[in-house]
């Protein structure tokens, strides 16, 4: 097996035994990018020289006695997390030339642990989308089928991990943007509890929903990355000051005594029967492993998509106001006056989906509509949270499909925003409730496209989610499959 196909923990063991070097691993990854990224198009920026320098440094540090599970491991970063000296575009023309003078906290933590950054990966512009087709630069392809989308918005992260263009990646998840692409690309993706991971340096889409998390080749790697990036950050007031457990301790091949809840609202008509079947079989597997399976109800599920598209767009309309052509980023030429400069810069700098959402959010917050939309949305959000609180009285984790279908074809839904919004139907409630959720491979369609199983947990109980996920993964082979490119 090539080095770039391996997991963090496999490489960690090899590095610790002296069987390979970080330089060799990094070169393998960079070569892989050179070979396949013309097809996959996962990377916006490849930082080969910097990555090799980091790799050499890691090799030196290891000799000097430094140890860390990610020391010398190439981790790709979604292009909405700020990286000092490396442009951070959000896959938008408006930030096409933006080079931050600071690191996102997650980037600083990875750097501190000695990981290597091979580059910045593609996404839907400002993380708005479910297919990575909304990138202002180019769409990313699904490594399992280059005619299909890799999911989104962290499509670059998921595709890069699946294609071996990095060992792991960071993504961000506002309504499913880690889990849905993880499902589409057959990798593991975790959205942590809101507040578990610092958002400092993550370019905001919807502040009350955004959360950074890992995309990895297996559950063990997810736990490893979570150990590095989790924890309170004084620079993020919404990051929770709660103890962070060692997540690798949850990796026990045992779900005896655990209760898995199945929400009937998540097994709906219109769902791909192959997805339905794979997820039901995964639940049966968990039962065979010793878990108790119970029915739970999340009665307000039907309102989740509407609620999300009011709250998320409201926050986005405000968060994206700073891109005005005044201080940094793109400024349109030939403006007559200030208003004209704003209008031209923003009209030319943002793509259609971003503009659609800014308009939606601006409308929802407007005088006379606030109560009917934003305020009502907040009230429904509370109900959705309460649904989960109730369900978690009966179940330790909740199992659902990650997405209603496997990866769809490029262009298939781009003309119909509503159809596109429905790809997140199973993931959106989780962000509204602020709970943790993981997607991991649970099978393939007859067309050889990966299917994702979503497991949800209580606030700050990523431990139970990882435990169930790990037990299932170890009892199956799905995570060992790699796409042929």
């Amino acid at each position: 097996m090539e080095l770039h196909d391996r997991t963090i923990h496999e490489l960690r063991d090899m590095l610790e035994k002296g069987e390979t070097t970080s330089r060799a691993v990094t070169e393998s990854v960079l070569n892989r990018i050179k070979t396949v990224d013309d097809k996959v198009k996962a990377f916006i920026t490849v930082t080969a020289d910097a990555a090799l320098a980091q790799a050499d440094r890691a090799d030196k540090d290891r000799k000097a006695g430094k140890a860390s599970p990610v020391l010398g491991i190439p981790v790709a970063i979604k292009d909405n997390m700020c990286t000092t000296g490396t442009r951070t575009t959000c896959a938008s023309k408006i930030l096409g030339n933006f080079v931050p003078p600071y690191d996102a906290t997650v980037v600083a933590r990875l750097n501190g642990a000695g990981s290597v950054m091979p580059g910045k990966v593609n996404m839907d512009e400002f993380a708005m989308g479910s297919s990575t087709e909304n990138s202002a630069f180019f769409p990313t392809k699904n490594p399992w089928d280059l005619e299909r989308i890799p999911g989104g918005s962290s499509g670059g992260s998921a595709a890069a991990v699946a294609a071996g263009e990095c060992i792991a990646a960071l993504g961000s998840d506002t309504g499913g943007s880690i889990r849905q692409p993880a499902a589409c690309c057959g990798v593991v993706g975790l959205k942590p509890t809101y507040g578990r991971v610092s958002r400092y340096g993550l370019v905001a889409f919807a502040s009350s929903l955004d959360q950074i998390g890992p995309l990895t080749k297996d559950v063990t790697d997810t736990a490893i990355v979570m150990n590095i990036i989790s924890g309170h950050d004084p620079k993020d007031s919404t990051s929770a000051d709660v103890p962070v457990p060692d997540f690798t301790r949850s990796l026990i091949k045992d779900v005896k005594g655990m209760t898995v809840g199945i929400p009937k609202e998540y097994f709906i008509e219109g769902m791909d029967p192959e997805v339905d079947k794979a997820v039901r079989e995964a639940v049966k597997a968990l039962e065979r492993l010793g878990a108790k399976v119970v029915d739970v109800s999340l009665p307000h599920t039907g309102y989740a998509v509407a609620t999300y598209y009011i709250l998320a767009t409201s926050e986005a309309s405000s968060n994206l106001a700073r891109y005005d052509g005044v201080k940094y980023g793109f400024r349109a030429q030939g403006a007559k006056d200030l208003l004209d400069m704003y209008m031209k810069s923003r009209s030319q700098g943002f793509g259609p989906e971003v503009k659609r959402r800014i308009m939606l959010g601006t409308y929802a917050l407007s005088a006379g509509y606030y109560d009917a939309y934003y305020k009502k949305g907040q009230q429904v959000r509370t109900l959705i949270k309460q649904d989960f609180d109730e369900a978690f009285k009966k179940a330790d984790v909740i199992a659902t499909p990650t997405a209603p279908t496997a990866a769809f074809k490029i262009g298939e839904k781009s003309s119909d925003p509503l159809q596109m919004y429905l790809s997140d139907i199973f993931t959106i409630s989780v962000n509204l409730a602020g709970i943790p959720g993981i997607s991991l491979p649970c099978g393939f369609t007859t067309g050889n496209l990966p299917i994702g199983l979503q497991l949800l947990g209580r606030h700050f109980d990523e431990g139970s989610v990882l435990r169930a996920a790990f037990a299932y993964e170890q009892a199956t082979e799905w995570h060992t499959k790699r796409p042929k490119l």
């Binding site: 909405n80 997390m81 700020c82 951070t88 959000c90 930030l95 933006f98 931050p100 003078p101 600071y102 996102a104 958002r199 400092y200 340096g201 993550l202 370019v203 905001a204 919807a206 502040s207 009350s208 004084p234 620079k235 993020d236 007031s237 919404t238 409201s314 926050e315 309309s317 405000s318 994206l320 106001a321 700073r322 891109y323 005005d324 005044v326 201080k327 940094y328 200030l338 704003y342 601006t362 917050l365 407007s366 005088a367 606030y370 934003y374």
Partner: protein, 476 residues
């Protein structure tokens, strides 16, 4: 028709914290443009605000000093609008749940205490500054000020005249300075005022349509803007017109207000709760701890001065305007043992000289012990009250104490009756006609003789003695 003005004021006061409200940048002014900035206050992508706890403490302190209720659960909101000096495209402010509500400030109106209600006090960040260069036609933005903590103090429409508005602002400034949360210096722009004003026929219950005069930046201008605005609205109503609801600006050069935008053009700020900051939860313990840091406030001091020193309300109010002034007074009053005399000197000569130079009490060259010393020299008869004025001016100018001035200038009061008798004899001799008239019954001429004697003694003669001896000598 006779009208009554209804005025409510919104004051923006800058808090004197060392660092900005949501980042660690220092709140220094007059520095080179954009040198007191960081990714947070410049509004770069992905940065987050972290609340300066000191700013919250200062607002709570202000709330307590103005009898407000402190909100146990308060939160920030975003006020959205585009302007180059607003780097994020929104201002972090408070909307639904301000930190302080329902308080009041007491002012003196015609010697009587009047309460002006405080609707709310909230915390927000200041914007930067746009600079328009005439040469290139370009506009520049300086973000040094962006993120400076401000409090907005909103009054109830309890103010009824321009004078009351000025009194209210002075009292508010005095409170902010007492509790050391803001230096409230209007000239430096860290105490700004928006005035909401309407008028109604005297006796009417309903409010008239109001106009808002924005960003008035001196006490004098507030008074002038309000006077103009009241007159303007009265004229409209007298001519049968209707006042329109609008935002106006004050042109201090012309002394007039003019329309900036109508109600229809008003911004829709699309306020919503700030998701990047957690709500501010304030416990009773925190409130109590902050309350303990508040020393005696102007109102309490004024009442004490009236009681303890027997001062009239007016004097007590004046002398408690600032903590330094009150401290000066108390020291001088105690050292001299003559509180009323000290008050008279301070309200008279001392204020006159300070005001002439635009100086504050802190810069007064005559320290309280020196003033007390001088007052004692009056009471023990060493100098006359009249001479004392000369002595005080000399003390103020030279920084010397009263004794030195009196000695150097030979201003000691003449209380030697022999010496005064000699002067009197000379005066009577020089004015025989007046003397004859006096004797003939023109009592009023007594004052003339006192004046002549004082003049001959160069003011040094003890006036009591002069009176006494003159009466005797003139009737001889």
């Amino acid at each position: 028709m006779k009208y009554e003005a209804v005025i409510g004021l919104e004051v923006h006061a800058q808090l004197q914290t060392n660092s900005k409200i949501f980042c660690g940048c220092e709140t220094a002014f007059g520095e080179e443009a954009n040198t007191r900035t960081c990714p947070v206050c410049i509004g770069m992508p992905g940065v987050l605000p972290v609340l300066n706890r000191k700013a919250v403490e200062y607002i709570i302190k202000t709330g307590l000093a103005t009898h407000c209720a402190i909100t146990p659960y308060s939160r920030f909101a975003r006020k959205n609008y585009f302007y180059p000096d607003l780097p994020k495209g929104y201002q972090i402010s408070q909307y639904e749940l301000p930190l302080c509500e329902k308080g009041y400030v007491e002012i003196l109106v015609d010697g009587k205490v009047k309460r002006i209600g405080i609707t709310r006090i909230h915390l927000e960040e200041d914007a930067g500054k746009n600079l328009h260069t005439s040469e290139s036609g370009a506009s520049l933005v300086d973000l040094n000020r962006a993120g400076t903590p401000l409090m907005e103090i909103v009054s109830e429409p309890d103010i009824r005249s321009a004078d009351e508005a000025a009194e209210y602002l002075k009292k508010l400034r005095s409170i902010l300075r007492y509790i050391e949360v803001s230096d409230a210096d209007m000239e430096k722009g860290n105490f700004r005022c928006d005035c909401n004003v309407s008028i109604r026929p005297v006796g009417a219950k309903e409010y008239g349509t109001r106009a808002e005069v924005k960003n008035v930046n001196s006490f004098k201008f507030v008074q002038k803007a309000l006077e103009y605005e009241i007159k303007r609205q009265a004229q409209i109503l007298d001519e049968g017109g209707r006042v329109v609801q609008e935002t106006r600006l004050f042109d201090s050069g012309k002394g007039v207000t003019f329309s900036m935008r109508s109600k229809e053009e008003a911004h829709d700020y699309r306020y919503f709760p700030e998701p990047d900051l957690v709500p501010i939860v304030t416990s009773q313990e925190t409130v109590d701890a902050i309350r303990k840091t508040i020393t005696e406030l102007p109102e309490a001091k004024r009442e004490r001065f009236v009681k303890e020193y027997g001062l009239p309300e007016y004097d007590a109010d004046m002398l408690t305007q600032s903590r330094a002034l009150a401290a000066y007074y108390e020291e001088a009053a105690k050292l001299s043992g003559q509180p009323k005399v000290i008050s008279n000197w301070m309200m008279g000569e001392l204020m006159r000289l300070l005001n002439a130079e635009g100086k504050e009490i802190e810069d007064c060259p005559v320290k309280p012990d020196r003033l007390a010393g001088m007052v004692k020299m009056i009471s023990d008869g060493t100098i006359s009250t009249k001479i004392a004025k000369t002595v005080f001016e000399e003390m103020y100018g030279s920084g010397k104490d009263a004794e030195t001035v009196v000695k150097e200038k030979g201003l000691v009061q003449v209380s030697d009756s022999g010496e005064i008798e000699t002067i009197i004899a000379d005066v009577i001799k020089a004015n025989p006609a007046q003397h004859a008239d006096y004797k003939g019954g023109k009592d009023k001429l007594f004052g003339f003789f006192v004046g002549q004697v004082m003049k001959a003694s160069k003011g040094k003669a003890n006036p009591d003695l002069v009176n006494q001896l003159l009466k005797k000598k003139l009737s001889e």
